[in-house]
């Protein structure tokens, strides 16, 4: 009888925590509000003319090398964001409908990459900018697995001594420190991308939609998507066509915190498990020893 109760106790200790996960997903509130000083970009796809001035300005402002991997090896022609490209203009075309889209880090309100990063190399720093600190990065690339927008890029190729960096838009924080705006917003000839506080940008975005409801998609991408972002999008074509995924309102970082937070709340479960196990193993060991002597 004693034996059965002990087994039951162990089983529930072992599996209880994990099973509890399924039962208590709704209990914890893990949502995150944008930082008070949150700044970001508002990109309006209806205004962009695809001149790529922002792409060139970004490369110059951030000292990035040309990516000549494309056909003929002649142009700075990145296919996508990569270790040499923090900002890119892509083209959506379907029949007569076309739209440019500018892609760069979204500076999420609750970034998955920051939740992933083991020792805080990626962190939301001033103005809520997600920035990278190389001295804390081990190059595990979990940020790349986590990011729903596929933004952080890794230097796969050697450049001198191989010490690969994670490359992503940091909203020109070095320029902000000098009182200048992000390079892409400064050169845009049509103000298709503008810089400001998240609050101002959201207000402006809604003003534009209200002023021209037939042109725009009804929502501002990034207001709530994936827990919200500091880079916001307006478009005349559905956002998923532009490569902006449908993420729902909760960030993956919040989901993970819920699950892991339930299992590891206050680190009680692992410590309790250890206590129970140490007791049982010692007793079993002692009994085995006694039996061994008797036989």
């Amino acid at each position: 009888m004693v034996r059965i109760s002990r087994r039951t106790a162990i089983k529930s200790a072992l599996f209880g925590g994990a099973v509890a996960v399924g039962a208590t997903t709704a209990s914890a509130t893990e949502s995150v509000e944008p930082p008070a000083d949150a700044r970001g970009l508002l990109y309006d796809a209806t205004l962009c003319i695809g001149c790529k001035a922002c792409v060139t300005a970004c490369k110059d402002a951030n000292g990035l090398p040309a990516d000549t991997a494309g056909p003929h090896g002649l142009w700075d022609r990145p296919d996508d964001l990569n270790a040499k490209t923090k900002n890119i203009i892509k083209l959506y075309r379907s029949g007569d409908t076309t739209s440019f889209v500018k892609r760069q880090c979204m500076h999420c309100v609750d970034p998955a990459c920051v939740g992933a990063c083991m020792m805080g190399a990626l962190k939301k720093r001033e103005y809520g900018i997600v920035s990278w600190d190389g001295s804390k990065c081990v190059g595990c690339r979990y940020c790349q697995i986590a990011c729903p927008y596929n933004i952080p890029k890794f230097e796969w190729e050697m450049a001198g001594f191989y010490n690969p960096k994670i490359v992503k838009c940091e909203l020109c924080r070095h320029r902000l420190a000098e009182g200048r705006d992000p390079a892409c917003t400064e050169v845009c000839p049509r103000h298709a991308v503008i810089y400001g506080t998240r609050e101002e940008l959201l207000k402006e975005a809604h003003r534009r939609i209200a002023a021209n409801p037939t042109l725009y998609q009804p929502n501002v991408y990034g207001e709530h998507d994936g827990g919200g972002t500091q880079v916001l999008y307006l478009s005349h074509v559905p956002f998923d066509k532009l490569g902006l995924p449908a993420l729902g309102g909760e960030s993956a970082a919040a989901t993970t915190r819920k699950v892991q937070g339930t299992i590891y709340k206050g680190f009680v479960a692992p410590v309790a498990l250890y206590g129970v196990l140490a007791t049982i193993v010692s007793r079993n060991q002692r009994r085995a020893g006694e039996e061994g002597e008797r036989s």
Partner: protein, 361 residues
């Protein structure tokens, strides 16, 4: 003799040709009227006279206006009526009369092997002549690729040790106006600036006037749109070549060659320059490009810019090698096969302790 009105018109034309406004023209006029026509001594060594020929074909202003009204051409073997001792005497007197003020223009490379015996004029080697004339010059200009870099005479294996002027005249400022031939308007601009202001134009690291050699041929090439759109001639006479597409792939050196050829064409004929007539830029104004890199070899782009195309939202990336998939298949298959063979052998083993056979592994 012409009227002042004609002369002002000429000076305006000259100023316009080198990209200056009417104010500069007025200053040319004033300088000329004060009798400050610069004395020009034109030396010719290892050269083909192409640069002189090119100069003869300017029309804004025409060569006669130039040498009669704007400058005083006191020595030029090709254009001189005088010959022999008479010519040598003219050179000496011009040097004496205008010491420290005259412009020394060098055309052609200077041979240095065997003490320079491969080019001698009036019993003196080119080295002696150029040192002598340059010593008292107010400004020294090397015209053409030969005088600027060594040009054709210095091409491998360079049997005469042909050298550019600035190598002989170490320590002196030599304005290089390279080109094969050099564009006469670049010379004209430099000469007129010196005549008018007594100064030399701003020079780049290679001694070339920045007003003419500040940007690559590529940057203002009339075929640039074809480059950006990825439309290339693949060989002479093909469809793309006849359509006037970009010549990069048949060896155009425009992307690395600093010169104003693409905006200042030759002989005052619109479109008269290599790329204009369907031939790739040869890189003659660039040291180590023309006469060095083979004519039809392509060069690296110095600072690539974006093409006029866009990546789509979804651009396939990453590689899957059939060899790797094959190897992976073999590994998995091998493991499965070995596992099955091993499992069959298992049934031959004793289930209790009795086996004392020699270990297999």
């Amino acid at each position: 003799m012409q009227s002042r009105r004609d002369f002002v018109r000429l000076c305006t034309m000259a100023a316009a040709a080198i990209g200056l406004g009417p104010a500069a023209a007025e200053q040319f006029v004033q300088a000329a009227e004060k009798g400050r026509k610069p004395s020009v001594l034109w030396l010719q060594f290892q050269e083909c006279t192409g640069c002189t020929e090119s100069l003869l074909r300017t029309s804004h202003p025409a060569i006669d206006d130039l040498i009669l009204d704007l400058i005083s051409l006191d020595y030029h073997e090709t254009l001189f009526a005088a010959a022999g001792h008479q010519a040598e005497a003219a050179l000496k007197s011009a040097m004496r009369d205008n010491a420290g003020k005259y412009i020394c223009i060098v055309e052609g490379a200077i041979p240095t092997k065997e003490n320079g015996i491969y080019c001698m004029i009036g019993g003196r080697t080119a080295i002696e002549i150029v040192n002598d004339v340059a010593a008292h010059a107010g400004a020294i200009i090397a015209i053409g690729s030969c005088a600027s870099w060594g040009g054709v005479p210095s091409a491998d294996p360079n049997p005469t040790g042909a050298s550019p002027a600035h190598d002989i005249l170490k320590g002196k400022t030599v304005v290089n106006i390279p080109g094969c031939p050099a564009n006469p308007y670049n010379l004209l601009g430099t000469v007129l600036q010196y005549a008018t202001y007594g100064t030399l134009p701003a020079l780049d690291a290679e001694g070339r006037p920045k007003f003419a050699y500040g940007q690559t041929v590529h940057e203002h090439c009339p075929r640039r749109a074809h480059f950006d759109a990825g439309r290339f001639a693949e060989k002479y006479g093909d469809e793309a070549h006849r359509n006037g597409y970009c010549l990069y792939k048949i060896g155009c050196k425009g992307p690395v060659t600093y010169a104003n050829c693409s905006v200042q064409h030759f002989g005052d004929v619109d479109g008269a320059w290599p790329i204009g007539i369907g031939h790739p830029c040869f890189g003659c104004t660039e040291k180590g490009v023309g006469f060095t890199i083979p004519m039809h070899q392509t060069v690296d782009i110095i600072r690539p810019t974006g093409p006029s195309t866009y990546p789509p939202i979804v651009q396939p990336q990453g590689t899957v090698s059939p060899i790797a998939t094959g190897v992976a298949g073999l590994i998995v298959g091998g493991l499965a096969g070995a596992g099955y063979m091993a499992s069959k052998k298992l049934n031959t083993l004793p289930t209790d302790a009795s086996g004392t056979e020699k270990p297999e592994v």
